[in-house]
């Protein structure tokens, strides 16, 4: 995949250090669109770039393009809270996310790119017997799928995270579900690493190229119109979560998706403070620390449809209230930046990877706020679907018709209310 001189290694870094870093090639070519491709992926985010990479690598597809309306990695892969895990409840989800976690574990060597994948552990706290039983059910499901999970009692949580509020809390911590193989990843690097690897396999990554319409003849897709002209395509894959509804509407589809904003927060960089990912069980709050030192945290979605990549004070305050309730020493740390991303919220809180009623048009979307951790498996499974026409075994439940048949994948049991998932 990489020529020796193009590989990233300590050796090449030393070599370039000695010659002023003049020898680095662009991480990906700034490709111009060709008249036609075998496969065009719409969306240069993590999922689209990963799809292109696995299509090129695993399925040996050669004429592939990724079209991106802005700059690659500018959507949710570049504005999430970087957490990876496979600690899901339902059998439709666990194998998929576990496939993803396994791909994460070998991704850096595969891509020759250090995405700082750090299996620091993910701790889900519980505060009541009912919550404990729900986590036991989940932990057992995880173990029965061959992934890892452990139960911590209160003392176990104290040993790991002594600075949490154990004694004065409104909702005392009574234990936690721990997935040690979960952790964090340097999110931007995922987009860049996939882009570079896909580029070296011949994929054209076309930035500043917005799709304006699809050419559909006799129910079959033949190409797409873009701001950079028409591009012919035998197959088109949509991987533009956050904008799925709009892009799919150009092909005449109306989907079980609403767009909602999710905020994230980062504090000023501090010396090592929290060594794992922790989620609060008595409110919407989760936190980890980046390698650079900033605490990265977030909470619930805004709760109303939104295409603005920002939120409002009620959620900001709620997140900070939860943060202080969980970690009372956070008070004097400062938030340096808060922002929002647009989530494709489906009606059952789970994603869609499926064919569409338009032949040759494939859909990958509805990732809710779980898309980042799914990136490798989403790319692998979407590539499989596009290349073979058949769903990948671990993504076979992510069908579009499940809402009609009732085979819902509702982890939270909140029903058809995207704002509650």
């Amino acid at each position: 995949m990489f020529e020796q001189s193009d590989r990233y290694s300590l050796f090449t870094l030393l070599r370039e250090g000695l010659r002023g870093h003049t020898g680095w090639r662009p991480a990906w070519r700034d490709a111009a669109p060709q008249p036609a491709y075998d496969i065009v992926i719409v969306g240069g985010g993590g999922h689209g770039l990963a799809t292109a990479y696995y299509l090129a690598k695993t399925y040996n597809r050669i004429k592939i393009a990724v079209v991106e309306k802005g700059w690659i990695g500018g959507g949710n892969v570049g504005r999430n809270t970087t957490i990876i895990r496979s600690n899901y409840l339902l059998p439709a989800n666990i194998p998929f996310y576990e496939t993803s976690l396994k791909l994460w574990e070998g991704l850096e060597q595969d891509l020759n790119y250090n995405a700082m994948i750090s299996q620091r552990g993910v701790v889900n706290l519980y505060h009541s017997d009912a919550q404990r039983d729900a986590y036991v059910r989940r932990g057992n499901a995880i173990l029965m799928h061959g992934a890892d999970a452990e139960l911590l009692d209160e003392a176990g949580v104290r040993r790991m995270l002594p600075f949490l509020d154990f004694d004065g809390a409104r909702f005392p911590i009574t234990g936690a579900l721990l997935q040690r193989r979960g952790g964090t990843v340097r999110h931007d690097a995922v987009a860049w690493g996939y882009a570079r690897a896909a580029d070296r396999l011949g994929v054209d990554i076309i930035q500043n190229c917005e799709v304006t319409g699809f050419r559909i003849e006799d129910g079959k897709v033949t190409g797409l119109d873009t701001t950079r002209g028409h591009i012919g395509a035998a197959k088109v894959g949509l991987a533009c979560a956050g904008r799925t509804s709009q892009v799919a509407a150009m092909a005449g589809l109306r989907l079980p998706i609403e767009s909602h904003a999710l905020q994230a927060f980062v504090s000023e960089a501090i010396k090592p403070f929290i060594d794992t990912v922790v989620t609060f069980g008595a409110g919407h709050f989760y936190i980890s620390q980046s390698d650079k030192g900033g605490l990265v945290f977030g909470g619930d979605i805004e709760g109303y449809n939104s295409y603005a990549s920002r939120g409002n004070l009620p959620v900001i305050e709620d997140v900070c209230e939860c943060g202080m309730a969980l970690i009372p020493s956070l008070g004097r740390l400062r938030i340096v930046r808060h922002w929002g991303g647009i989530m494709d919220m489906t009606m059952d809180g789970s994603p869609i990877i499926d064919r569409t009623p338009v032949e040759g048009l494939y859909l990958n979307g509805g990732w809710c706020y779980g898309g980042f951790k799914a990136t490798p498996a989403s790319g692998l499974c979407f590539a499989h679907l596009i290349a073979t026409g058949e769903p990948h075994a671990v993504a076979s439940a992510y069908r579009l018709d499940r809402f009609a048949t009732g085979h819902l994948i509702d982890e939270k049991g909140m029903g058809p209310h995207p704002q509650l998932h």
Partner: protein
């Protein structure tokens, strides 16, 4: 964000609960195509980027349901009406269907 409750006036976001699309209306449960109609009603959404008619509940206020028109991209609130008034004007399924003759 502030929501203009037609009864209470402009109130802060955290007094309200959002419910979703107000353009979809509950179909006739006795119709022959009730199942697909209900699937579409409950699940499919236009999800526009601009003005959106949507339901909000003033739960920490007067408990009124509102149909709010709001630009989803800018969050600009363009207007609000009592949901009851909107619903009363359109006659679709204004009561639970009567029991079918048995």
């Amino acid at each position: 964000m502030r929501i203009p409750c037609t009864y209470c006036g402009n109130r802060q976001l955290d007094e309200f609960t959002y419910f979703g699309d107000a353009t979809v209306r509950r179909p006739d449960s006795e119709a022959a195509d009730a199942l697909p109609a209900f699937v579409s009603y409950v699940y499919d959404r236009t999800n526009p980027t601009g003005p959106h008619r949507e339901l909000w509940y003033h739960g920490l206020g007067c408990r009124q349901w509102l149909v709010v028109t709001r630009d989803i991209t800018t969050h600009e609130v363009l207007g609000a009406q009592p949901a009851r008034d909107v619903a009363s004007r359109s006659a679709v399924s204004a009561k639970p269907a009567e029991a079918p003759a048995s």
